[in-house]
Amino acid sequence: MNKPIIELKDVWKIYQIGHVKIPALRGLSLSIHSGEFIAIMGKSGSGKSTLMNMVGCLDIPTKGRVNLYGDDIASFTESDLAQTRGKKIGFIFQKFNLIPTLTAFENVMLPMIFQGIPFEERKKKAQSLLSMVGLSERSAHRPGELSGGEQQRVAIARSLAIDPEIILADEPTGNLDSKTGKMVMDLIIKLHKEQKKTIIIVTHDEDVAKYAQKIKVLRDGLVIGQKK
């Protein structure tokens, strides 16, 4: 098999709350290869969110290594890490996390602004992404004027703005009813199948996890099992 694009080696993450040290990840190792569709499951407190932050390069481990395309993320400056993250990883959040003052269209353009992509190119890309998620008509609306399902579709369009290889989704259907949840999942599956994106979904929902090729189950900061 080819080299993993994200590789966690013996990763520890210890949070200090007052005088108490709480280990959220305890020597966890994990490799994610290009084109995979992985679900990370676990109850709350299992270290799921911490793992997502590591995989998404949002945080650096207390101990151990996280390699993104072979480079240790701890060696990056904060800004380099932000830049790299912006290029390589597309995020989809449970709470959609669109910028409330910007329209759907502008939200989709935002990652491209941070990468310094010229306006014309940005505009074309944002339009095509919004039409792909079926929201061309709603592009001038602000998130507050969109339904949950629509907001999540805008968020998916935003996650694709820079053409990242990796899509990291944190409970993408958590705030949606089952029908719109299914619609969003169909979209994610399409990205995997048609665009060969590497998909990582963090969830506690079996129905969501079942779409994945691999399911990693987490408990107490360690991968305790793999389904499929």
Partner: protein
């Protein structure tokens, strides 16, 4: 890039209208105060320097010590016709004339008013005064050498602004109980006090007020090409010798109009600086208010900042975004402040005009407007420095977790 950030910042300000407005309040009060003060001050200064310039630079004024331009008639020392004789003999003095100022009781149509009566010389020594004062007569004629108990009235008397009835040429007017015949009316000077004065021949004034040789002010014109400061020194020396006073202890002032203008400018600048200083306190409050708003904004948008960082925003990007927002918050206050300030200045100008002060014209030079806007933008940016720094340093994980 910056263009996008500007757009982004303006959107945020637009969406949060109430917050934006309240934050700007202190800024625009401060800016409005500064703009109106400077524009009116500039207008006043221009008007006065124009008048001084019209007088020419070859004019010298002698007055008793302890008086300043405009405040005459009640000093301890006195200058007299004898001083005038001394001055007229100084070389390079082309012409010199003196005036007498007296508060007088005026009676017209059984009504009584008090006003300044000015004794004007009617011989050739009056020419220099006429030239300096740039009198223009709108009705009748000026005083001539043979005139006795004749009077020229200020425009407010002619307009029935002082007495119920208009004072017209050929009317009879009583001054200090003596009957005078009105021979002329002055044009508008632009200062309500000056516009209610009456002018009578100096010789008549000496009889009426029983002032045999006192003068309140002597106006001098030097010959063409003479060095004015040298003539001033000569006059000072001759007057010291004549009045038997030591150098440095003069009981009289010899001033050129240029000097007076400079003195005036210094005092004026000082007063203006103090007023602007006071107005600046409001700007400081405005700055603190912007800082407070920006801190709140950083807190409210912690999650938003986390998202932006997750999708690729560098610390610098977040910093610039917040600085721009804060700068525009300041500048928006500045724009409203400039408009209010201009309106205020125009109102004051209008109010002054209705009081008869026609020389005051508010000035809005472009550098005042541009300067104020830049200044308010800078204040906004400075106030935003600390909040923007805090925003840029937020860790994406912490920010994303923030509820």
């Amino acid at each position: 890039m910056i263009k996008d950030y500007v757009k982004f910042a303006l959107k945020t300000l637009k969406v949060r209208k109430t917050r934006t407005f309240l934050t700007m309040l202190a800024v625009f009060i401060g800016i409005a105060a500064i703009v109106s003060l400077i524009s009116l001050g500039q207008g006043l200064e221009n008007a006065i320097s124009e008048q001084f310039e019209a007088l020419g630079t070859n004019k010298i004024m002698v007055s008793p010590a302890g008086t300043f331009f405009g405040a005459v008639g009640d000093s301890v020392s006195e200058i007299t016709e004898e001083d005038l004789d001394v001055i007229q003999k100084v070389s390079k003095v082309k012409q010199a004339g003196g005036m007498l100022y007296k508060m007088a009781r005026l009676e017209f149509d059984e009504e009584v008013q008090y006003t300044w009566a000015i004794g004007l010389p009617t011989d050739e020594s009056g020419d220099v005064i006429n030239e300096i004062a740039t009198f223009n007569y709108v009705t009748g004629r000026e005083l001539k050498e043979s005139d006795k108990y004749k009077v020229v009235v200020g425009i407010r008397l002619a307009e029935a602004d002082i007495f119920d009835k208009e004072v017209k040429v050929r009317d009879k007017l009583k001054i200090e109980g003596y009957e005078f015949k009105v021979v002329g009316g002055m044009g508008r000077i632009g200062n309500p006090e000056d516009d209610r004065q009456v002018y009578i021949p100096l010789e008549t004034a000496r009889e009426v007020f029983n002032e045999p040789d006192k003068l309140d002010i002597i106006m001098i014109e030097t010959t063409k090409g003479a060095s004015v400061p040298a003539v001033v020194e000569d006059i000072k020396k001759e007057l010291r010798d004549f009045r038997e006073v030591e150098e440095g202890e003069e009981d009289f002032n010899v001033q050129t109009f240029e000097e007076m203008m400079e003195t005036f400018a210094v005092v004026f600048t000082l007063v203006q600086a103090i007023l602007i200083g006071i107005a600046s306190i409001s700007l400081l409050v405005g700055g603190v208010s912007i800082m407070n708003t920006m801190y709140t904004s950083v807190l409210q948008r912690t999650r938003e900042i986390g998202v932006m960082k997750a999708i690729g925003a560098k610390n610098k990007d977040i910093w610039i975004l917040f600085i721009i927002e804060s700068g525009f918050l300041g500048m928006a206050g500045g724009i409203i402040g400039v408009l209010i300030g201009m309106g205020l200045a125009k109102l004051v100008e209008l109010a002054a005009f209705q009081q008869g002060i026609t020389i005051l014209k508010a000035q809005f030079p472009w550098y005042l407007i541009v300067g104020t806007l830049v200044f308010s933008f800078v204040i906004g940016c400075l106030s935003g420095l600390a909040p923007a720094y805090r925003a840029s340093k937020l860790k994406p994980v912490d920010a994303l977790r923030y509820e």
